[in-house]
């Protein structure tokens, strides 16, 4: 038994078998072969190619009517590539010339091709090496499978397993979210990386930032993930395994006891009614969100409609998806318009070059949308149209400049006129709100509050921008501090601006769903919380145990103190 250490994301415990997710090239071993083995290695390569072709043909045959033409098209293109003799010509040459194994020859070829594509000066095409690379990695996968011959053919079933990866991209998280995974561990990533966010939404523990630790793990190792301590126990001894199994049972029991809170009101000991809403990403999450008696959806992220695909979703498709969410409740659903750029990019960065030095400060979210109206208009029109099926609200991410609001209003006016002229049914009264996540918007919150119908504080970005730390850089994540006086003051300024302008201010960032901050936020005046479904009951319990009048004076002191020790004491005292 040995242990690995990283950042724990969720206090839970998971026990399961490791499953290493291979990202291309990561575990491709290169070794030399003798001259006599060259032809044999080439036959191996051809056999691998053959199985990759068979596998893809099989997938293509399984496509049903409901699978889009796009999926068929991509699959067809991949099959065509696999059947093109040119694909393996160069790798065969490499094997002959350099006397190395087939996997490594493919790897060299893939990297060469990537290099060629990356030199292409066209954002649409340069991202396209992905197709070729994926095809090559399929052959590599077949070759590795032959060698391991573990008899695991069902490559895409992860039930009960613990996913081990170098890092997870947003695209992986989409693919994984439908599996019954018991935990994640990754080499990279801080506490609010995508992996961490996904783990929270799936209610499973994760440990991120293991700094190379995963290289000691193999698929099939028995792992205990202790999210609270940030520890991975590898192949544990029986007594330890037993202890952890008991502890896991206990955690599950407390979890179940939370269920009795579903029908209880979210009100404080001193009688304040608090609104709890859900953050969702997919229409399928609505049922659970509504089953918890939430007051609606405070954040519906729409990025995932735009990712993992080659063509942008049409207006019609968006109307269908938004309407399918709105139809599931008569309560407000806050639809956040496209928040892409930064670490989330459409189809390998085809919207704009992917090699921007500092994407978090670049043309993302509303900036991208106002720049590329072909992206923005169909989404806004779709929301207006879907709004006839429920209570939609439009929320604009990453506002930093008042001009953006003015431009937005002009655009909305134009779109309403357009819809009216085209005699298309739509709801003209959809409330328009903005996210406060750039410090400029928090400092000048009063100016935004004057123009908008509501504000919502996005704490992840607000903290990142205020404290100047990259949210995915685990070397600076120790500086990530939601109770930094600067952060708290910006939150307070936003809440105050809302109450002066008499518009609601909610919070939909990670902080809103973290019970450690619930009392602090209540003490500052926050009454509308929106969070991942997994956190709702925990936060509700916290609210029901809070007396705001007692928290308030301590919070006021917290806003004024710069002494780290005193800050910790105050947080402890507030939470006692």
């Amino acid at each position: 038994m040995f242990t690995l250490h990283g950042n724990g994301v969720d206090a839970g415990i998971a026990i399961g078998r490791a499953r290493l997710l291979r990202s291309l090239g990561e575990d491709i071993l290169k070794y030399n072969i003798s001259v006599d083995e060259v032809e044999q290695e080439i036959s191996r390569l051809q056999a691998g190619l053959g199985s990759a072709q068979d596998a893809l043909h099989q997938t293509a045959n399984q496509l049903g009517e409901e699978d889009s033409a796009e999926v068929r098209g991509i699959l067809g293109a991949h099959i065509t590539m696999l059947e093109d003799p040119v694909l393996v010509q160069e790798p065969m040459e490499i094997i002959r010339r350099q006397h190395i194994n087939a996997e490594a020859a493919l790897q060299m070829h893939a990297e060469n091709l990537e290099g060629v594509f990356n030199r292409i000066d066209d954002p649409y095409l340069s991202g396209k090496s992905a197709d070729v690379v994926q095809v090559i990695s399929r052959i590599q996968g077949e070759l590795l499978k032959q060698k391991e011959s573990t008899g695991r053919s069902e490559e895409e079933i992860f039930d009960g397993e613990i996913i081990v990866a170098n890092d997870l991209m947003p695209a992986d998280t989409v693919r994984l979210s439908s599996h019954q995974i018991s935990a994640f561990i990754t080499n990279l990533g801080g506490p609010i990386s995508h992996t961490a966010i996904l783990a929270r939404s799936m209610k499973i523990p994760a440990i991120v930032g293991l700094h190379g630790g995963i290289h000691y793990l193999r698929t099939g190792d028995l792992l205990i993930i202790d999210g609270k301590r940030g520890v991975v126990l590898v192949n544990p001894d029986t007594p330890i395994l037993k202890t952890y199994q008991r502890r896991r049972e206990r955690i599950l029991r407390t979890h179940q006891r939370l269920d009795v809170l579903i029908d209880e009101r979210a009100s404080t000991l001193d009688g304040h009614e608090i609104s709890l809403c859900a953050n969702i990403e997919f229409p399928e999450e609505m049922a659970e969100a509504m089953s918890l008696n939430t007051m609606g959806v405070g954040l519906y992220r729409t990025e995932f409609l735009f990712m993992n695909r080659c063509r942008l979703p049409s207006e019609e498709e968006q109307v269908r998806v938004y309407a399918s969410v709105l139809r599931q409740t008569d309560r407000p659903v806050t639809i956040r318009t496209l928040d892409l750029g930064s670490d989330k990019q459409v189809d390998g960065g085809r919207l704009h070059g992917s090699q921007i030095a500092n994407p978090a400060l670049g043309r993302r979210a509303i900036r991208l949308c106002l720049h590329d109206l072909s992206l923005f208009k169909p989404q806004l029109r779709a929301i207006y149209r879907a709004a006839v099926y429920g209570q939609a609200r439009i929320m604009i991410p990453m506002l930093s400049n008042i001009d953006e609001v003015d431009q937005l209003f002009m655009l909305l006016e134009e779109l309403r006129q357009e819809l009216h002229d085209q005699k298309i049914r739509y709801d003209p009264h959809v409330p328009i709100g903005g996210m406060v996540e750039v410090p400029a918007a928090a400092v000048a919150a009063d100016l935004f509050a004057d123009r908008l119908d509501f504000l919502s504080i996005g704490t992840n970005d607000l903290i990142q921008y205020t404290l100047a730390i990259d949210r995915i850089d685990d070397e600076v994540d120790y500086l990530y501090d939601p109770v930094h006086p600067a952060v708290l003051r910006l939150i307070k300024a936003t809440l105050d601006a809302g109450s002066v302008a008499n518009i609601p201010v909610s919070m939909c960032g990670e902080m809103a769903g973290d019970p450690r901050y619930t009392r602090i936020l209540l003490g500052m005046g926050l009454r509308d919380f929106s969070m991942d479904v997994a956190a709702i009951l925990e936060v509700k319990r916290r609210i029901r145990l809070t007396d705001i009048s007692k928290a308030q004076p301590l919070v006021e002191e917290l806003l004024k103190t710069g002494n780290q020790k005193r800050i910790r004491e105050l947080v402890e005292e507030i939470n006692r």
Binding site: G73, I74, G76, A77, H78, T80, M81, D84, P85, V86, L87, L113, V116, F117, I120, D121, D122, Y124, L125, K128, D131, V132, C310, R311, R350
Partner: protein
Amino acid sequence: MRCILRVECNIQVINKLGLHARAAAKLVKLSAGFESSVVLNNGSASADAKSIMQVLMLAASQETHLLLTAEGNDAQLAASRISRLFENRFGEDE
């Protein structure tokens, strides 16, 4: 002696995404149906239009001009069908 027909024409990539994987697959599928050889030139780079890998490596983005050379009995038909595929933006919207 058999007369081999050789047709050359200029075509332009007009679809937004250029010759990406799916478009290239369509081109290859169409080209493979002709008896003639079909070669595309992008400056000094040249590709057999029946090989998707070679077509992809042409790296033809939107607005690229290509020289198409078809050689064989059905060269005329091949050239006109293939130019039409480019003109129709490979069936894409933009």
